[in-house]
C-alpha cells in the first residue's frame, strides 16, 4: 500500500494540486465529451477533469502509441544527401485519474514494446509519462477487471493511486516518480491516518462485490486454448460472428499490432506507424498472395490465442485482457471477451 508512503488531500485542495501538474506537464484526464461520453483527453484546467465517471471510451494507449504516428521524416533537396530524421515525442505527460484497468493495460504494453529490440518511440513517450490511477468504486455493466487481476484497485504498477474518500482523496505513492508529482505542493498533503487506509480496504472489498455475476471466468478458456482443445468448428462459427471492423483491437488497452507505410516522395516524406488489427483479412496476407489466415475463424482463433494462451502470457507477463469491457460495447459482431470465453467454456455458441 504505497511503497513511498500514503497521504490524503482534501477535495478542496485538489484543484490546486492539479493546477501545479498542469504547469509542469501535459495532463491527460477523464473529460466529458458529447452526451454521456467520457474519454481520457488533454485537459487545460482543473475544472476540465471529470472525477466522477465510470469508464473512458478509449484506453490510454492512444497517447503512448497513437493510431497514426509519424516515426521518421526524410528529405532530399536538389540531389543532395538524403536526410533522415527520426521523430520522437518527449512531451512530459501526467495521466491523471485513470482507471486501474487502463494502468494494467499500459503495463502489458510496457512489456510488449520492451522486447528486444526495444521500441524507442513507445519507450520515449513512456519515460516521460506518469500514471496517476483513480481506484474504481463504480464498475460499469460490462466491467470484469476482477477476473483479470487488473482492478478495481491496484497493488502495483502505479506512480500514484488515488482513492475517493469522504471529502478527501487517499494518495498512495508507488514510485519515486509518483513522489515527485507531490513536490512543491507538500503543504496540501497530510500523512494518511489509519482510518483512511482502513476505508480504502473496505471500499476495495465493497467494490468487488458490486461486479455483475458471470462476467468472464477465464480459467477454462485459458486451459482449452493453451492445450488446443477448442474445436475448429467453434472457431469457424465465431468467425461468422466477426464483422471485421478491427475495433476490438483498437479499444483494447493491451493490443499493440501496427503496420507501417512510407508516404510522400523521395524529395520529402514520412514513415507512418498505423494501428493494425489481426482480424483484418489482409493482416497476415503474404506477398505471394498466400494468406495463412484467409478464413475469419482462423483470424478469431489467432486473436484469442494471443490473448489467452499460456505461451503468450509467459512472453508478456500477463494475459492480453484487463477486463475493461470496451470490446463488449465496440464489437460490431459479437465476439467480445466475455462472450468468447463463455463459448469456449461451453464448447459451443
Amino acid at each position: 500500500m504505497g511503497e513511498y508512503g500514503a497521504f490524503v488531500i482534501t477535495d478542496s485542495d485538489l484543484p490546486t494540486w492539479v493546477g501545479s501538474l498542469l504547469s509542469r506537464a501535459q495532463v491527460i484526464a477523464p473529460r466529458s465529451l458529447a452526451g454521456s461520453d467520457v474519454s481520457y483527453d488533454i485537459v487545460q484546467a482543473p475544472t476540465d477533469v471529470q472525477w466522477d465517471y465510470q469508464t473512458s471510451i478509449a484506453p490510454l494507449k492512444r497517447f503512448l502509441f497513437p493510431p497514426s504516428d509519424q516515426i521518421l521524416r526524410w528529405n532530399q533537396r536538389n540531389g543532395g544527401p538524403l536526410q533522415l530524421e527520426p521523430v520522437y515525442d518527449e512531451t512530459d505527460r501526467v495521466f491523471l485519474a485513470v482507471r486501474p484497468c487502463d494502468v494494467a493495460g499500459v503495463l502489458v504494453l510496457d512489456r510488449a514494446f520492451a522486447r528486444d529490440p526495444e521500441d524507442i518511440y513507445y519507450a520515449r513517450r513512456r519515460q516521460h509519462s506518469a500514471l496517476v490511477a483513480l481506484a474504481c468504486t463504480q464498475p460499469g455493466p460490462n466491467c470484469f477487471c476482477v477476473c483479470a487481476d487488473a482492478g478495481p484497485f491496484l497493488d502495483r504498477g502505479y506512480d500514484l493511486q488515488l482513492t475517493a474518500l469522504t471529502g478527501a482523496y487517499l494518495v498512495e505513492v508507488g514510485t519515486e516518480k509518483g513522489a515527485s508529482l507531490l513536490r512543491g505542493c507538500e503543504s496540501l498533503f497530510e500523512p494518511a491516518p489509519e482510518a483512511a487506509l482502513a476505508d480504502r480496504q473496505r471500499l476495495a472489498l465493497e467494490t468487488e462485490s458490486r461486479f455483475a455475476e458471470d462476467k468472464a471466468y477465464f480459467a477454462a478458456a485459458l486451459r482449452k486454448i493453451t492445450f488446443n482443445r477448442v474445436p475448429d468448428d467453434l472457431w469457424r462459427a465465431m468467425g461468422e460472428l466477426c464483422l471485421g471492423c478491427g475495433g476490438c483491437a483498437f479499444v483494447c488497452p493491451t493490443c499493440h499490432c501496427f503496420t507501417t507505410a512510407d508516404c510522400g516522395q523521395q524529395s520529402e516524406g514520412c514513415r507512418l506507424r498505423l494501428w493494425d488489427s489481426c482480424l483484418y483479412q489482409a493482416y497476415a496476407l503474404e506477398a505471394s498472395g498466400h494468406n495463412p489466415r484467409a478464413e475469419r475463424g482462423q483470424r478469431v482463433k489467432a486473436r484469442f490465442l494471443h490473448k489467452l494462451s499460456y505461451q503468450f502470457a509467459q512472453k508478456l507477463g500477463a494475459h492480453g485482457c484487463v477486463g475493461c469491457g470496451r470490446c463488449v460495447t465496440t464489437c460490431l459482431g459479437s465476439n467480445d471477451m466475455p462472450a468468447v470465453t463463455a463459448r469456449i467454456r461451453r464448447g459451443a455458441l
Binding site: 473529460r31 465529451l33 458529447a34 452526451g35 454521456s36 461520453d37 474519454s39 483527453d41 488533454i42 471510451i57 478509449a58 492512444r62 497513437p66 493510431p67 497514426s68 504516428d69 461468422e240 460472428l241 464483422l243 471485421g244 471492423c245 478491427g246 475495433g247 483498437f250 479499444v251 503496420t259 507505410a261 508516404c263 510522400g264 516524406g269 514520412c270 507512418l272 498505423l274 494501428w275 493494425d276 483484418y280 483479412q281 489482409a282 498472395g289 475469419r296 460495447t329 465496440t330 464489437c331 460490431l332 459482431g333 459479437s334
Partner: protein
C-alpha cells in the same frame, strides 16, 4: 480540443465518432457510445477515417493543365482561368452548355452554394451528382417515382422489427452499422429473410434464404406479395393493374421463373403476413438493376414508405452509399428540383429563389449527370467521382475527353481530376465546418479541427471566390451563415442551426419533403408506377451459354472510392484483388469442380456480345449457375455485359447476361 465529434465521412448510416487531433493533424478516431447511430461501434472505414483525412495524397496546390501535365499554379491564376473559360463557353453556347456536379461527400453548405452557383451565377439547371444515379438511378427523383423514396424508416427500425428482409443487399460489406443491428436482432430470435443470389455473412443467421436467378427478382417480389396477401397479411394492393399482374403468380410458377423453391416462397409469405413490424432493407443492389421500379412497386405494395402508422405493413429502409448523398439532394443538387425539392416548374418557387439569390432561375429543365456527358461543353465538378460511380465508365471517359473545359474541386486527385484542365484543392471533412445529412435524414455537424494542408481551401470559400469572378458575389462570414440561408429557404431545415446541432445528442432528424406538397402539384395517384412482369425474367441460358454473369454491387465495393483509396489500411483491406491485372470473377466451388476449374485460374468468359479474360475466385456464397463480377470491375466486362440504356431514364445500367466460361 483534441477529441472532436464528427459524423463518419463514408457511408449513409451517419455513425458518430470522435476525431483525435494532435499537433495539427487528425491522428485517430474513436467510437461514441452515446451516439444514437454508432452506439459505440464503428466499422473498418470509420476506424480508419483519420487516414482518409490526413493522407499523403492530398492536393495542396491548384493545378493547371499545360500540355499533358497538371502543373502547380497560384489561386488567382487558377480561378481567373476557370471564370474566363466558363464565361466564354456561356457566351458562345449558352448557359445550358455548362454542367455542374455536386458531391455526395461534401457538406450541405458546399452543395447548396454549388447549386446557387449553377442556377444563379451560371444560369443553368444542369446540376446533379453522378452518385445519385448510382444509388437511385435518376428516375427515382422524377416526380412520378418520388413516393417510392419518401422518407422511410431509420436505422433504429431494425431494432424494433419483428421480421427483417434483406433485399439484394449485403449489409456486412455495404453498411456494417446496419449489419450489426441485424445480427443482434437475429440473435434475439427475430427471423431474417435474405433475398440475394450471393449470400452475405449474415446468411447463417437467416431464417430463410431466397436465391433467385439474377434478373428474376421482380417475379419473386410479385410472388411474395401474392403469398403474403393470400396469408391475409398486408391489405390487398390498391392498384387493380398490380393485383391483376400478380394474380396468377403462384409459388410454383415463381419457382420455375426464379429457381426459388415454392415452399420457401410460401414460408416467406407466411412470415410477412404474420409480422407486425416487418422491415425491408435495400440498397443499390436493388436500385441499380433495370427492373428496380417494378421491384420497388411490389415491395411498396407490401409496405410503403413509412409502413403506415398502424404498423400493419412492412417499412422500407433505403441506405445510401455516401455520407451526404441525401443532403446533396436536399440542397438542390438534382436537376429537377431547387433546394428543398421545390419544383423547377413551380413559378412561386422559382421567384422565391430568384429573389433570394438575386438572379433569375432558368425555366429550362436540367440534365442529369449522365445526360450532361456528351451534351455540355464545360463541366464543373466538386468532390464527385463519375468515373467511379457511373455504370458506363468507358462512355463517361470518352465524353469527358470531349469537353472543352473541365474543372475539378476535390481534396484528392480522383480519376476525374486527373483528366481536368484545372484542379482546385479543397478541404477534407475534418478541415471545414458544415453539416452532413445521413440516409435516415439525420443532420450532423462536421467540424474544422485542423487547417487544410498547403494552399488547399475550404470548398465554400472557393465557390464564393468563383461566383464573384462570374459577376455574382457571395458574401458569407462562415458556413454558419450559409446554413442560416438554407434554413430560411428550405422548410425541412428551418429548425437547423449550428447552435441547435451542438445542443443535440447525435444531430437533428429532418423531414426532407417538408413543405413540398404545397409547392408541387404532382399527386402520386396519377403517377402510380406500373408493375410489369414483361421484362422480369432472368436471361435464357442454354448449352452454349449455361451461366449467368451478374454484377455484384456489394462485394469489396469500397476499395475504389477516393476516400478509401487515400487510406493506407482501407486500400489494403477493401480494394478488390486484381490477380494478374485481371478482373476477378467469382463462382461456387461445386460449379467450378463440374467444369474442372481451380481457384486463381485464368479463364475466358464469353457472351453473345463478346468475351473477356478474368481470374477465377471460388466463393461458395455465390448461387449455383451464377458468375459474380465485382461491380468495380465492370469496365473489364463491357464487351461481355455491355451497359444498356434504361428505357425511361436513358441511364445506362447493367443487366445479367448468359455466358460460358472456358479455361485459357
Amino acid at each position: 480540443m483534441p477529441y472532436v465529434a464528427s459524423p463518419c465521412p463514408f457511408c449513409g448510416c451517419g455513425c458518430g465518432l470522435y476525431l483525435q487531433v494532435a499537433d495539427g493533424l487528425v491522428i485517430g478516431t474513436a467510437p461514441s457510445p452515446a451516439h444514437p447511430v454508432a452506439l459505440g461501434r464503428l466499422c473498418v472505414k470509420g476506424w480508419h477515417a483519420h487516414e482518409a483525412a490526413a493522407n499523403p495524397y492530398r492536393l495542396t496546390r491548384p493545378l493547371i493543365r499545360r500540355g499533358a501535365n497538371l502543373e502547380p499554379a497560384g489561386w488567382p491564376e487558377a480561378l481567373d482561368l476557370v471564370a474566363s473559360r466558363l464565361l466564354s463557353v456561356k457566351a458562345e453556347h449558352g448557359a445550358a452548355a455548362i454542367g455542374v456536379l455536386g458531391s455526395p461527400r461534401s457538406t450541405n453548405e458546399d452543395n447548396y452554394l454549388l447549386a446557387k452557383l449553377a442556377r444563379g451565377a451560371l444560369g443553368t439547371n444542369n446540376i446533379d451528382t453522378a452518385a445519385r444515379l448510382e444509388a437511385l438511378p435518376g428516375l427515382f427523383d422524377l416526380p412520378q417515382y418520388r413516393h417510392l423514396t419518401r422518407a422511410g424508416a431509420g436505422l433504429a427500425a431494425i431494432d424494433e422489427a419483428d421480421l427483417i428482409v434483406l433485399w439484394q443487399t449485403d449489409p456486412v460489406e455495404e453498411h456494417p452499422a446496419a449489419a450489426a443491428r441485424v445480427l443482434r436482432a437475429a440473435q434475439r430470435g427475430v427471423p431474417v429473410i435474405e433475398v440475394a443470389w450471393r449470400s452475405s455473412q449474415l446468411a447463417d443467421r437467416a431464417a430463410l434464404r431466397l436465391a433467385p436467378r439474377p434478373g428474376s427478382e421482380t417475379v419473386l417480389a410479385g410472388a411474395l406479395v401474392q403469398a403474403a396477401f393470400r396469408h391475409e397479411g398486408p391489405p390487398s394492393p390498391e392498384s387493380e393493374d398490380f393485383a391483376a399482374a400478380i394474380a396468377d403468380l403462384t409459388p410454383e410458377r415463381a419457382e420455375s421463373a426464379t429457381g426459388v423453391a415454392a415452399d420457401a416462397i410460401e414460408d416467406a409469405g407466411r412470415l410477412l403476413a404474420s409480422a407486425s413490424r416487418a422491415l425491408i432493407l435495400y440498397t443499390r443492389g436493388l436500385t441499380l438493376q433495370p427492373q428496380a421500379t417494378d421491384v420497388l412497386a411490389a415491395l411498396s405494395a407490401l409496405g410503403g414508405g413509412d409502413g403506415g402508422s398502424d404498423g400493419s405493413r412492412p417499412r422500407l429502409l433505403w441506405l445510401g452509399r455516401y455520407s451526404n448523398l441525401q443532403g446533396a439532394r436536399d440542397m438542390g443538387v438534382v436537376p429537377y428540383f431547387l433546394p428543398g425539392f421545390r419544383s423547377l416548374t413551380d413559378e412561386s418557387s422559382r421567384a422565391r429563389f430568384a429573389e433570394a439569390w438575386g438572379a433569375p432561375i432558368s425555366t429550362e429543365g436540367g440534365l442529369s449527370a449522365w445526360e450532361m456527358l456528351g451534351a455540355v461543353r464545360a463541366l464543373v465538378v466538386m468532390g464527385d467521382d463519375p468515373l467511379v460511380t457511373l455504370p458506363d465508365i468507358a462512355s463517361a471517359r470518352e465524353a469527358l475527353a470531349g469537353l472543352s473545359f473541365l474543372v475539378v474541386l476535390d481534396s484528392v486527385l480522383s480519376p476525374i481530376a486527373e483528366a481536368a484542365h484545372v484542379v482546385l484543392p479543397g478541404a477534407s471533412f475534418a478541415e471545414q465546418d458544415g453539416t452532413f445529412t445521413s440516409a435516415e435524414h439525420r443532420v450532423q455537424r462536421v467540424r474544422a479541427c485542423v487547417p487544410p494542408p498547403g494552399d488547399a481551401r475550404p470548398d465554400w470559400q472557393v465557390i464564393c471566390e468563383l461566383s464573384g469572378r462570374l459577376g455574382r458575389p457571395m458574401e458569407y462570414a462562415s458556413p454558419a451563415g450559409i446554413m442560416a440561408e438554407i434554413a430560411s429557404l428550405t422548410p425541412a431545415y428551418a429548425g437547423v442551426s449550428y447552435q441547435a446541432l451542438d445542443d443535440s445528442a447525435g444531430g437533428l432528424l429532418v423531414e426532407p419533403q417538408a413543405g413540398v406538397e404545397q409547392a408541387t402539384a404532382t399527386t402520386t395517384s396519377e403517377a402510380e408506377p406500373s408493375f410489369s412482369l414483361d421484362q422480369a425474367a432472368a436471361p435464357e441460358t442454354d448449352d452454349e451459354f449455361p451461366y449467368l454473369l451478374a454484377p455484384d454491387y456489394a462485394l469489396r465495393s469500397w476499395g475504389g472510392e477516393a476516400l478509401a483509396a487515400a487510406s493506407v489500411c482501407l486500400r489494403r483491406e477493401l480494394a478488390p484483388g486484381r490477380p494478374l491485372q485481371l478482373a476477378r470473377i467469382e463462382m461456387s466451388r461445386a460449379d467450378a469442380r463440374e467444369r474442372g476449374l481451380r481457384d486463381g485460374q485464368q479463364v475466358i468468359i464469353r457472351s453473345r456480345t463478346g468475351e473477356m479474360r478474368a481470374s477465377l475466385r471460388l466463393n461458395d456464397a455465390v448461387r449455383s449457375g451464377v458468375l459474380a463480377l465485382p461491380y468495380s470491375m465492370r469496365e473489364d466486362a463491357a464487351a461481355v455485359m455491355p451497359p444498356e440504356l434504361h428505357p425511361e431514364t436513358g441511364v445506362p445500367l447493367l443487366a445479367p447476361c448468359a455466358v460460358s466460361i472456358h479455361q485459357v
